[in-house]
Amino acid sequence: MNFALPLLEKLKQEMTSKTSEIIQADSKMPILKIEAKDIREAVKKLHDDPAFDMKYLNCISGLHLTQTKEDGTLDLLGFEVLYVFSSARDFSTIAVRVDLPEKNPAIDTIDDLYGSANWFEREVYDLLGVNFINSSDLRRIMLPQDWEGHPLRKDYKEQASYNGMPTTRPNEMESIRIE
């Protein structure tokens, strides 16, 4: 029996907006899907409420959702940001998922509640371009500061050159190919 499920049910009950839903309820890790505007309320509850006592943030992961159409082109469906929390009390782990639109994805930061959230948020921002509103320090974390674009977006176009370095290189065998 999955003992994260009752916690999620409880969280769902306590949310003010009733639009949340539990997905993947029968899997190992059930996820509560909530709306972007409710994220701070939910996380605050998880952090402060002794019933949850989720003091540890495992990770924040991002995903660019796409669907391949019949003619082979990609249909961009927006972004998904997944928060995974753990409790040091009974090692229960729960996940909260937020879906963001394709254009100008933005969500409230939680790095005032969890100190470690800042690096995760920077990573999601760096690679996917999700904007974390009111973040204390939202810079790129892995790529150079003057990098253009967010590479893990499915519609990412690599720049032709970065600081004078071409980003493509012809295969050395092309120069000696016999035609």
């Binding site: 295969n171 050395e172 065998m173 120069s175 000696i176 190919r177 016999i178």
Partner: protein
């Protein structure tokens, strides 16, 4: 005070022990293998059986099927096969391997269907030699051409000629057969 004296004693005792260890190493023979010249046996002989050194191809055994080039995930192999006079299957026209990029993943060897029937580690047409030397002053020097360029050009020309000849012959036969069909059969539009 006792701790103080004990600290001093321990300092001397441990330094003494450490120096005994290093001195005992000073009296031992170094394990260094003096690589290029001062060795009893060459390094490739001492390597394990399945060591992957330089990627090589046996141009006689190769059937020019191109499976290795398809299997390669990073386009290290570039090859082309063509017809030859007096040979039944395909013959290599050129076969280039870019050692500077190869990641020694063995996928090409697994894909290779041409085997010489022996059970040694080099039983496929494309195989890994145990030799690992191959530095170069230029990146271009890391591309190995197993068929020399002149020979490759000659073979390409030959295969093109044969292909042209065969195409002409094929065109002749199809023309003949079409003409035959047209003359033989009446038009009824329904073909199978």
């Amino acid at each position: 005070m006792i701790i103080y004296l004990k600290n001093i004693w321990e300092t001397y005792a441990t330094v003494f022990e450490g120096m005994a260890i290093t001195f005992s190493y000073l009296l031992q023979r170094p394990i260094t293998v003096q690589y290029p010249d001062r060795m009893k046996e060459s390094v490739p002989e001492t390597l394990p059986e399945k060591y992957r050194g330089r990627l090589m191809v046996d141009t006689e055994l190769c059937t020019a099927c191109g499976l290795c080039a398809k299997a390669c995930p990073i386009d290290v192999i570039e090859m082309k096969g063509g017809r030859a006079e007096g040979k039944k299957g395909l013959r290599l026209i050129y076969f280039n391997i870019y050692h500077g990029k190869c990641m020694y993943c063995n996928l090409c060897v697994e894909a290779c269907p041409a085997e010489d029937g022996e059970e040694d580690e080099h039983h496929t047409a494309i195989y890994f030699k145990k030799n690992f030397e191959g530095s170069s002053y230029t990146l271009n020097g890391l591309v190995e051409q197993f068929i020399p360029p002149d020979e490759a050009r000659r073979r390409l020309k030959e295969s093109e000629e044969i292909a042209a000849k065969r195409a002409a012959a094929a065109a002749e036969t199809t023309k003949n057969s079409e003409a035959k069909q047209e003359s033989d059969k009446p038009k009824d539009g329904g073909d199978v």
